[in-house]
């Protein structure tokens, strides 16, 4: 039966995350963002991460026996929205760990789970780094090569835009199988601890937004990966367990846009109620009302879609991968549009770094590059329509 009420547990966690965001992240967001302008590697707030972990938030996606709460896709979306509304870079960093810890827990072998999950769950500053294709990319684009050697693999090449590259203690990376061992487009997904010999973090990307979410290159030179560090059935062709997992959690990418846009809307309402022009708060001018209304519509509709898609991901009975993709597409287009309107509502102030809306806009543009470009994601959804039932 259709229902839109969060469970008491979900509502309590949401409240906790909102308060955490307001108290721990918002006050330092601006300063750290500016600091990143001088030193892209510098700004990550490790103290805040420790606090985050000590509240039990880091381990939420893990099964209960590993200290987690078996958080589903919907809960992930609901909580991520709160962090996104506070500081999108930090939110994106912890999202990576939620996502990848969930991946190991769900798709890893028993040995992989018992080897890596306890280390992750017991270390308050353990972040995971993502060098996978994600839900909307194609294996043809991989540049990292894996060559068979005995029972293991030798990895060579370079990855760019590795999420949490300079911060992570463990990486999950996709590589293309070369030589006779691999069929067309076959890929492997391997677990690579940071200290593995032959792995070296490269240049940290100097990004326009989400600057606390450090991303970097990762160089591999004759990096040997034992066979047991390869995720079973990790294939990147859409049929493997990993691909199914990523498709399932796609709605969490929609929560990025919802949170950032909501923050821009909140600040816009505050501002337009205070700012007086033409003898009254600009909020009372119809043209401003129209703009605020369009922003509100965008944010709410995106959230409704994200929730609906997430719900179908959690309850696999009516699952349709297209719904998750539509939620990412809609929320990702919506967020920059809403932030753009927020800047206009702030007038000239919107353009000033002293005011927050320009940062939301910079952060929101990240949504257009979830793994691949936004257009590629649209195309991928379009391709799914060639055959599937209406």
């Amino acid at each position: 039966m259709v229902d839109f009420i969060l469970t008491e547990e979900q509502a309590a966690l949401k409240e906790l995350c909102r308060n955490f965001g307001e108290q721990q992240l918002q006050p330092i967001a601006d300063e750290l963002d500016k600091k990143a302008g001088e030193d892209p590697e510098g700004p990550f707030p490790w103290g805040v991460l420790k606090e985050f972990s000590s509240l039990g938030l880091k381990n939420l996606p893990l099964p209960e026996k590993w200290g987690g709460a078996d958080m589903g896709v919907l809960t992930h979306c609901v909580l991520l929205e709160e962090f996104m509304a506070a500081e999108a870079g930090f939110a994106a960093a912890v999202h990576q760990s939620w996502k990848l810890a969930g991946l190991i827990a769900e798709c890893g072998t028993e040995e992989q789970v018992s080897k890596y999950i306890p280390i992750f769950s017991q270390d308050d500053t353990f972040l995971m780094g993502d060098g996978t294709l994600g839900p909307i990319s194609s294996p043809e684009d991989l540049r990292l090569a894996a060559t068979r050697e005995g029972s293991g693999w030798v990895i060579d090449g370079n990855k760019r835009f590795v999420a949490c590259g300079p911060l992570a203690k463990l990486f999950i990376v996709d590589a293309k199988v070369t030589g006779a061992a691999g069929g067309m487009g076959e890929t492997i997904t391997c677990i690579v601890p940071k200290e593995t010999s032959g792995v070296r973090p490269g240049e940290v990307h100097d990004k326009m937004g989400t600057r606390l979410f450090l991303e970097s290159e990762l160089d591999f030179e004759k990096c040997r990966i034992p066979g047991e560090e390869v995720l079973s059935d990790g294939g990147g062709n859409g049929s493997g367990a990993k691909s199914r997992y990523f498709a399932k959690i796609a709605p969490t990418l929609g929560a990025f846009g919802v949170g950032i846009a909501r923050a821009a809307l909140e600040k816009s309402i505050e501002h337009t109620l205070e700012r007086v022009q033409g003898g009254k708060p600009i909020f009372e001018h119809d043209v401003v009302s129209f703009r605020l209304a369009e922003m509100k519509v965008d944010v709410d509709v995106a959230r409704d879609l994200v929730w609906r898609a997430a719900c179908h991901s959690d309850d696999q009975r009516d699952y349709d991968p297209r719904l998750g993709l539509t939620s990412v597409l809609f929320a990702s287009q919506m967020a920059p549009r809403v932030c753009d309107m927020a800047i206009q509502l702030f007038g000239g102030y919107g353009f000033m770094r002293d005011y927050p809306v320009q940062k939301y806009w910079r952060d929101a543009l990240m949504c257009l590059f979830h793994g691949e470009t936004h257009d590629t994601a649209r195309l991928k959804l379009g391709r799914l329509m060639e055959t599937e039932h209406i």
């Binding site: 039966m1 519509v297 509709v301 649209r378 195309l379 379009g382 329509m385």
Partner: protein
């Protein structure tokens, strides 16, 4: 707990309505539309209505004791979407008759139910219509204007135990076909219309009551909007629905049920256009491959599906909130109905593009969906009023509840 699964009853009704729409309505859509161009008053397919009655579809809004299902708002939206995706004008007929039978069933006296709903249930072609809009008062009623000079003017004056009604309504949905009418009259000309209007129940053959011209519209032809002309129509006090001067009360507005339902007009129309465009793109080859294998076409279809799923999500939440009163916010409904209009226009235009120049011809179904989609611009409220309502509502808002 957040859940998106429909109940067994909803699924059963959904597939019944889907089958009816595809088998009974789809074959006659183009013909009715062509006929409406020359004969707006005579294009309605009564046989399709009779077939619906046989399946129990016409009476879904009736109370259970009168043979209906008393469907809730969400179910109404889910079923309406199925008909809208095939014939938006005809679908709107269901919308009227479902909600109005329910309205009388819930708010009417026993005597009124006996007088109006029992004959309604027994007559396979009986429809119900409500007359609110007048040539001089549209948005004044829906974005309530509190001046006594605004709002509906159709006068209702008490004489003994009867009320005498005089005036004209227009744009009245289903009016050319309906037998039962609810007419809003101004019972207190000295109060603002929201506090001075009353709903009167009457049969279409009441002396002094007649139908004027049927409007010749751009789309949604089968909705059969027409004028009502009332000249000294006498209505007994006992046929007042709810109380005197309660014509615009919360009760009278079905406690907000209408807005998510009307939002479904846009959703269903968009889905219909999407479905025909998708089939066309799969089945038509140009330059040696199906159209859908062109990136530009595939991306257009992706955008269309995205808007449709987004709209459906917003409508479901708004409808659910109407059915679960403690979560109801008028704004959520306004959001759903505003966005569904955006969706309908965009999706139908995209559908037309996929058909190429053929899409502009009457030989293909895309242009009709686009014309039908424009109906959503002003049903219940104009698009701008919906936006204004949303915008204004944000002031009193605790930011933390966003």
């Amino acid at each position: 707990m957040v859940d998106m699964r429909l109940t067994d009853e909803q699924l059963e009704l959904q597939s019944l309505v889907r089958e009816y729409s595809r088998e009974v309505l789809k074959p006659i859509v183009a013909e009715c539309d062509r006929k409406s161009q020359s004969d707006p008053a005579g294009c309605f397919p009564l046989d399709a209505l009779k077939a619906a009655s046989k399946l129990g579809l016409r009476t879904l809004g009736l109370p259970k004791e009168l043979g209906g299902r008393d469907i809730d708002t969400l179910t109404h939206c889910i079923l309406l979407e199925e008909v809208m995706a095939v014939e938006p004008g005809f679908a709107a007929t269901f919308h009227q008759v479902w909600r109005l039978a329910q309205h009388i069933g819930r708010e009417g006296t026993e005597e009124q139910k006996k007088k109006f709903l029992i004959p309604f249930a027994e007559d396979d072609t009986c429809l119900i219509s409500i007359g609110q809009t007048e040539p001089e008062s549209g948005t004044d009623n829906t974005f309530p204007y509190r001046g006594v000079d605004g709002g509906i003017k159709l006068s209702a004056v008490k004489q003994g135990g009867e009320w005498v009604l005089n005036g004209t309504k227009h744009f009245v949905a289903c009016a050319s076909l309906a037998r039962i009418f609810i007419v809003l009259g101004r019972t207190d000309p000295h109060a603002p219309a929201p506090d001075g209007a009353t709903q009167f129940l009457m049969w279409g053959d009441t002396p002094g009551f007649r139908i004027g011209r049927t409007h010749d519209k751009l789309g949604g032809a089968l909705l059969m909007n027409a004028e009502l002309i009332l000249e000294n129509v006498r209505v007994p006090e006992s046929d007042i629905l709810m109380g005197v001067n309660e014509g615009f009360s919360d009760k009278a507005r079905h406690y907000g049920r209408g807005a998510p339902m009307v939002a479904t007009f846009g959703l269903g129309t968009a889905r219909g256009a999407y479905e025909v465009a998708l089939s066309y793109a799969r089945e038509t080859s140009r330059r040696g491959k199906p159209l859908i294998q062109n990136d530009a076409i595939a991306m257009r279809l992706a955008d269309m599906l995205m808007l449709i799923e987004a709209t459906r999500s917003a409508i479901w939440r708004a409808a659910w909130a109407v059915d679960n009163r403690e979560y109801y916010l008028q704004r959520d409904s306004a959001i759903a109905s505003y966005f569904s209009t955006v969706c309908a226009r965009s999706v139908c235009e995209n559908a037309m593009q996929i058909f190429g120049k053929d899409g502009y011809t009457r030989k293909f179904p895309a242009e009709k969906f686009l014309r039908d989609a424009l109906m959503t611009n002003h049903i219940n409220n104009t698009v701008d009023v919906r936006l204004l309502k949303i915008g204004r509502s944000l002031a009193g808002e605790l930011v933390s509840s966003l």
